[in-house]
Symmetry: C2
């Protein structure tokens, strides 16, 4: 393995120090990396994107409130001063525990002494993959730009459509899935239709747009207590969202979707219904749960492989009879926990302690001046909750400049209803969609 030897040879970390490979520069992977800044390790962080993404604000990019770079920072830049780390831009295809190597899409192999897999989750259609082209999900910046293009384009198409029925189909929007992402998208889209775009069109009134939020389960934001959920629903309806619960979508086509026994003509459907763990878990050959998550030991290691850890959305861990949720705080805590375990191991202390998730509370934003907050016994909703949510998220944004820009964009959006990123890439309204790019890619490959 010449590459591996070469890599061993030139790694900037302390010579002959054990080699830790971290797959994924999300919250789990990045927080683990930073927590090991002073550790006697040679760390290689591999990600298929060149940036860390602040996922909690991705819906703002999809709804044209923020630019993509506002919520992303280059991993290299974040870690430039951490001398025991190098960053690789590459896609990991397989883990080969028996030889302690990972295999990259480029064909290159990378040996490890310790491995942390934090490749997260992606959206999933659970056997309905044929819905994907008609109902994009929201996990990457590419997805967000795709969705942004579709949302803005729908109003443009409606404006030029002369047939009233076809026109309304362009003004019918459906968001499938009543979790945090679905609620954020629905609330913000309703605001765009009612305020941002009002008076900018001549043939349509954007307020004619119907925004449906469809949840198969009995209520939206099920991770919150009933009373807060009920408040969230009322706030959504106040913003102009039609909330449909207990109704699964049974079909999605280019023309619309099937809801119960009604087929609703709609040209824009967004998928926020399901996530599945990164396929990387499979190559470990250990038990996975139904969503493809790795059932880790209490110390987040992989059963039978004390040198391999899993953190973030890819890890399935029961705590007090409930699964540790796939949220940013849990991912950060897991990342830091793996780092401390590794530091103990390097000191020769092989004792294993169990990870415990500390739940600092649960926030969800709903739209303009609407959110719900649940921290222990403390419950909050409406404007106050929204300011609380805003402060928390801007505070946690990586990169000082980004924080400033985000705050400013929000201030402007808040007072003027203007959204600063209402740009459709590509021409003649053919939005530059992620799927399009994927097509093109498979063309070239």
């Amino acid at each position: 393995m010449p590459e591996q030897h070469d890599e061993q040879h030139t790694h900037p970390g302390p010579p002959r120090a054990p080699h830790l490979v971290i797959v994924g520069g999300g919250f789990a992977g990045l927080w683990a990396t930073r927590a090991l800044a002073s550790a006697p390790l040679r760390i290689t962080l591999v990600d298929r994107c060149n940036h860390h993404l602040f996922q909690p604000l991705l819906y703002q990019v999809a709804t044209a409130g923020l630019s993509a770079p506002d919520i992303a920072a280059p991993l290299r830049h974040i870690l430039r001063h951490q001398n025991n780390v190098e960053v690789w831009l590459g896609e990991v295809e397989q883990v080969q525990p028996e030889v302690r190597e990972i295999l990259l899409a480029s064909g290159r192999r990378l040996g490890y002494d310790f491995l942390l897999i934090a490749s997260g989750a992606t959206h999933a259609y659970f056997g309905n993959e044929q819905w994907a082209p008609h109902a994009p999900g929201l996990k990457t910046l590419g997805n967000a730009l795709d969705i942004r293009g579709r949302l803005l384009l729908a109003f443009e198409r409606a404006e030029l459509e002369t047939d009233p029925v076809a026109r309304q189909a362009w003004l019918n929007f459906a968001i499938v899935g009543g979790g945090p992402t679905g609620v954020e998208l629905a609330g913000t889209l309703a605001e765009i239709a009612r305020h941002t775009l009002a008076n900018e069109f001549r043939h349509i009134d954007p307020r004619q747009a119907r925004v449906l939020l469809i949840e198969a389960g009995p209520r939206v934001l099920p991770s919150f207590p009933d009373d807060l959920t009920a408040k969230a629903r009322r706030q959504l309806e106040k913003l102009g969202v039609e909330v449909v619960t207990g109704a699964p979508v049974s079909a999605i086509t280019a023309e619309g979707y099937q809801l119960g026994d009604e087929f609703v003509p709609a040209r824009t459907v967004i998928w926020a219904a399901g996530v599945a763990a990164s396929p990387l878990g499979r190559s470990l050959g250990v038990p996975l749960d139904r969503a493809g998550r790795v059932q880790v030991a209490p110390d987040l290691s992989v059963p039978g492989h004390p040198e391999i850890f899993v953190a973030g959305d890819l890890a399935a861990l029961q705590q007090d009879g409930r699964l540790v949720p796939g949220v940013a705080p849990a991912a950060k805590q897991m990342g830091r926990f793996v780092a401390s375990t590794l530091r103990r191991r390097l000191r020769g202390d092989a004792s294993s302690q169990p990870f415990r998730y500390r739940d600092f509370g649960n926030l969800a934003t709903i739209g303009r001046m609407a959110a719900i907050v649940h921290i222990g016994r403390f419950k909050l909703s409406g404007l106050l909750a929204w300011w609380f949510w805003l402060a928390a998220h801007v505070f946690f944004l990586i990169g000082f400049r980004n924080r400033l820009v985000v705050l400013m964009n929000w201030a402007v959006a808040y007072w003027s209803y203007r959204r600063s990123a209402r740009i459709i890439f590509g021409r003649a309204g053919q939005a530059q969609t992620h799927s399009a790019v994927d097509e093109a890619r498979s063309e070239r490959n």
Copy 2:
């Protein structure tokens, strides 16, 4: 033509007022539109993008200094209060003067009483179209994101490349064409390699990057006097750019380019050498110049068609033995001039006055703290010229919010050398390129 009747019928402008169609929402088209706010016209502005683009700062998006939305504003939003205008998102395929209609790519036809064609110019390879995939040009936001991806990706590839020769090929950059765009790109790219990326890589030193600016003519920025051009060249070289003049590139492939009898291995070549007018001019059936520009009458109308005007980069007009340059100020002046001519016609005054371009001076930026300014007898270069250029461009940016954000990004970039938009879209470093999107599009059509 039901659509046309429909369009006549529902246009928001004053009933039975003449119908003016403006093709292109650039400087010429947009300034004409705004200057006709109070005119008794029904105006339809057709553009294939949903936004007006501040072209002079496009190179900043390509070099990751600004986000795409920072320099673009939705045409609808800019014109929302102008009640005699409607905005169409669409691509114009043909003008049919004999029936006074334009034909859109959608198949839809639009009749006009007056027509202003301001569809601008695009970059051209002058019979070497096979170079296009290897040497993208810079005219649209899509181009800028393509180039940004290629520039950032080249350093990532070099970092992972183990063969020294192949590695240097990733670190060899060539910008072909010594006009303003080429100079801006070369100067900024040199700054990125020398400062922005320094210390962020482990296996390469980004300062090893070679940035060549190749100009076939005798000097860069030929529109400036010799002494200023010489200063510009020195400033470029101080920034780390190798300037090659009097040397045409005779071939460009995926592996590199042919310069004289030397083939230079280079994985990143950018085309800033030539522009050609929009193909729309051809469908008029009137004389064009070599670059495909329409040879307009002194009042910017099309010979034989007093109801059709051409403004901006698409218009070829001699003044004092020189061609009116294809710059933003000229386009704005032409747009306003056509507007005033139309207002006189509407008052029944058919007298035609000649357009005169007022040259307020010539600015070119070179890179960090380097620029040249030429206003009449007044010449300036270096830091002072750069501040002058900065002030002028931020001042002319459309949209108050954008101005603020752009200023702030620049302030940060200026003090920290950080560039705020260092994001590669797409995954595993497969940059989301414009060409890729075009491929995908032609797939779908």
